[in-house]
């Protein structure tokens, strides 16, 4: 149908006007039903979005609860693990130090006995006065007779004897004092030993006290986790996110190490498996090198698991100690073998590179140029071999950040899930409101299209209202007059 078919006459303005009148009339007649239809449609869409948003909000709540549950559970396990380790350490300290306690006690007692003996020996004993002093006193009491030389001689002898006795007594006293000082000097190492032992005891006790403080702190955290407090959740969530980014960073470093490792062995692998065949577009020597690195990683993971450093595979952790130790040695042997293979391949790489360089020089210089032998070449060869040997063991430790990454990934996904769901809920609410207001807007637009009939309607209503009012007034006057 063309535009000309819609024209009643040659005049488009007239045709347009006729159509406007007809459509306005038709829309005016259908106004009430159209309004209802628009309102209903917008309300339906609005309700649908609102309900969807509500469902999403409920899903957010469920996810948040689940996240909290998982987070607290992980936190609980981790706290248990830490507390268990702390108790193990305390146990080790107690075993080590308290087991030695009887011996220490005996040593201290022996030292104390020795000190006591030395002390007893070092007590000062005053020298006893000689027995004949009393005889001297008796002689001294003899009444002196002037000019009696006998008495004078006796007294002189006594005086001499007293001087001798005094000198001897002084000498003896000095000797005994010297002996006592020697005893006291001998006491010094005993004192020092006792002091050292007591210091050791003090150190052990302090260490135990520190451990107990740490355990108290962990126990508080554990209790907080068990009570499922918001603080515990916040703390664990923050810790988990930090752990996630740290482990991601360490894993990125490990990937760098793996790439270097790959380049070290990919080229010499072509010497073993060839370099022209391919599987799914990848050269077979590259695949072989990649497989070796992946096997090393797997062995490293299992080794760390067997050593109970990580807990990614509960089956390995649950093995009895004998089997576990056997597995440790098995994985370590395989890893060592692979490291040796890598060192060999790194050496082969250097040989191949040298051979390539020699062939290229021979071909490009028509054989006239001789390869200059670099005397420092062994450094790069040794470095490559060292890297080839060390990197498998270094990659073994990827297990630790990997475990942290895997555990924290759940939390990060949970948080991201909540963020995404919140955005979805917000969008659904926005769309619901848009639908609601669109309905209202459409109703207004509808009315705008039929402004002419609506204007007439309002005019008619106003005239009718005025005439009704006049009739009412007349009736009122009539009734008033009659009354």
């Amino acid at each position: 149908m063309s535009f000309s078919d819609l024209m009643f006459s040659g005049n488009p303005v007239l045709s347009g006007f006729v159509w406007f009148v007809v459509l306005s009339a038709a829309l005016y007649i259908a106004r009430v039903h159209a309004h209802k239809a628009i309102k209903l449609a917008s309300l339906t869409v609005h309700n649908a979005f609102r309900l969807s948003a509500r469902s999403v909000m409920m899903a957010i709540d469920r996810l948040a609860n689940r996240n909290k549950e998982v987070l607290l559970n992980q936190g609980r396990l981790e706290a248990e693990r830490i507390i268990e380790r702390e108790f193990d350490r305390v146990d080790a300290i107690v075993r080590r130090d308290l087991a030695e306690y009887p011996a220490l006690h005996r040593e201290l007692s022996e030292e104390v006995v020795k000190l006591d003996e030395d002390y007893q020996r070092s007590i000062e004993v005053p020298p006893s006065p000689p027995g004949w002093v009393k005889a001297v006193e008796a002689v001294a009491k003899i009444p002196s007779t002037k000019g009696d030389p006998m008495v004078g001689n006796v007294l002189e002898d006594i005086h001499q004897s007293l001087i001798k006795a005094n000198t001897k007594a002084t000498e003896e006293y000095r000797q005994s004092s010297h002996k006592r000082h020697q005893h006291l000097t001998r006491m010094m190492p005993h004192w020092r030993k006792i002091q050292h032992q007591l210091n050791q005891v003090d150190k052990n006790v302090t260490s135990l006290l520190e451990r107990s403080t740490t355990i108290d702190r962990h126990m508080e955290e554990y209790e907080s986790i068990m009570k499922k407090t918001d603080r515990a959740e916040r703390m664990l969530s923050s810790s988990s996110l930090t752990q996630f980014f740290i482990s991601l960073f360490v894993l990125a470093i490990a990937v760098g190490g793996a790439v270097i490792n790959f380049h070290l062995i990919a080229r010499p692998m072509s010497e073993m498996v060839g370099g022209t065949s391919a599987i799914m577009g990848f050269q077979i020597n590259n695949i072989a090198a990649l497989v070796i690195i992946l096997v090393e990683l797997a062995m490293g993971l299992f080794l760390m698991e067997s050593l109970r450093i990580t807990r990614l595979f509960p089956v390995i952790g649950a093995l009895n100690d004998k089997t576990r130790i056997r597995m440790v040695w098995t994985f370590f042997s395989i890893l060592l073998f692979l490291a040796l293979v890598e060192a060999g391949l790194a050496f082969m790489r250097e040989i191949l590179m040298e051979e390539d360089a020699a062939t290229r020089a021979l071909l490009r210089d028509e054989g006239s140029a001789q390869m200059v032998q670099n005397s420092y070449l062994w450094i790069t060869t040794a470095a490559q071999m060292g890297l080839g040997f060390i990197l498998p063991f270094a990659l073994m430790f990827v297990a630790i950040p990997l475990e942290t990454f895997v555990h924290s990934l759940r939390t990060v996904f949970g948080v991201l899930g909540i963020v995404v769901l919140r955005i979805v809920a917000w969008m659904l609410r926005i769309l619901g409101n848009i639908a609601n207001y669109t309905g209202t807007t459409l109703i207004h637009i509808y009315d705008l299209l039929i402004f002419a009939p609506l204007g007439i309607e309002r005019l008619v209503k106003s005239i009718r209202a005025q005439s009704d009012k006049k009739e009412d007034d007349v009736d009122a006057v009539n009734y008033g007059g009659a009354a």
Binding site: R267, S270, E271, G274, G275, T276, S277, A278, I279, M280, Q283, I284, I351, L352, E355, D356, A358, T359, R360, L362, L363, R364, E366, G367
Partner: protein, 217 residues
């Protein structure tokens, strides 16, 4: 039951992996024709340098052959040296050295041929490279491109060069070309037309320093 299913899946995986194993399609095949007619033998030293350069760029899995262009070149007897480099890089290096020695020996004892059968050499090159089943095929023609056939030799044969790159190297100007350069241009145009009508790509490299960029293609 689960065990059997697992075994079956494992076997299937192995078969799939084995089935996926294929020759890398980016292996290269290079066939070089050396003109040994008349005064062009003086240029063979340069050809030797080109060969050495090509040898240094080829990798394990690639194929390379050098053949002379003489009176009747459509023959395996004209192939001076040919090789498919082994997968092991160390063996490939040894093969390169042996190849170089063969070419050196040939250049030292070469005798000029009376006629120049370039088309026969091209046909031989196509045949050899097709058999080699390499991913990317290049025919290098080290010649002045002046074909001089012995009476009775039929060489008016369309060349099937779909997927082949043909590179004319060191196309020297003859004395007559200097008198009338149209001869030289017509000669080049004729070969270009023959190659391109056969589905191949055509390139001329007179400055051998540019050979590196050609070989990288």
């Amino acid at each position: 039951m689960i065990k059997r299913t697992l075994h079956a899946a494992l076997l299937l995986g192995l078969f799939l992996l084995a089935g996926c194993s294929e020759q890398v399609p980016n292996t290269r095949g290079v066939y070089m024709l050396m003109d040994t007619s008349g005064t062009y033998t003086q240029e063979l030293k340069q050809a030797q340098r080109v060969i050495n350069y090509i040898l240094s760029t080829l990798q394990p899995g690639d194929s390379f052959a050098v053949a002379r262009v003489d009176t009747g070149s459509f023959s395996e007897k004209d192939i001076i040296a040919k090789v498919r480099f082994e997968d092991r890089p160390s063996r490939a290096n040894q093969q390169k050295r042996v190849f170089r020695d063969k070419v050196d020996k040939f250049v030292k004892g070469v005798k000029p041929s009376s006629y120049t059968d370039i088309t026969g050499g091209m046909l031989q090159a196509i045949e050899w490279l097709t058999e080699a089943r390499t991913g990317k095929n290049t025919i290098l023609i080290f010649s002045d491109l002046k074909e001089d056939l012995k009476e009775g030799y039929v060489r008016d044969i369309p060349l099937q060069l779909s997927g082949f790159s043909v590179v004319a190297l060191n196309v020297t100007k003859l004395r007559s070309d200097n008198i009338d350069p149209r001869e030289y241009l017509n000669r080049l145009a004729l070969w270009q037309e023959r190659v391109e009508s056969g589905g191949g790509s055509w390139q001329v490299v007179n400055d051998l320093e540019r050979l590196e960029s050609v070989m990288k293609l």
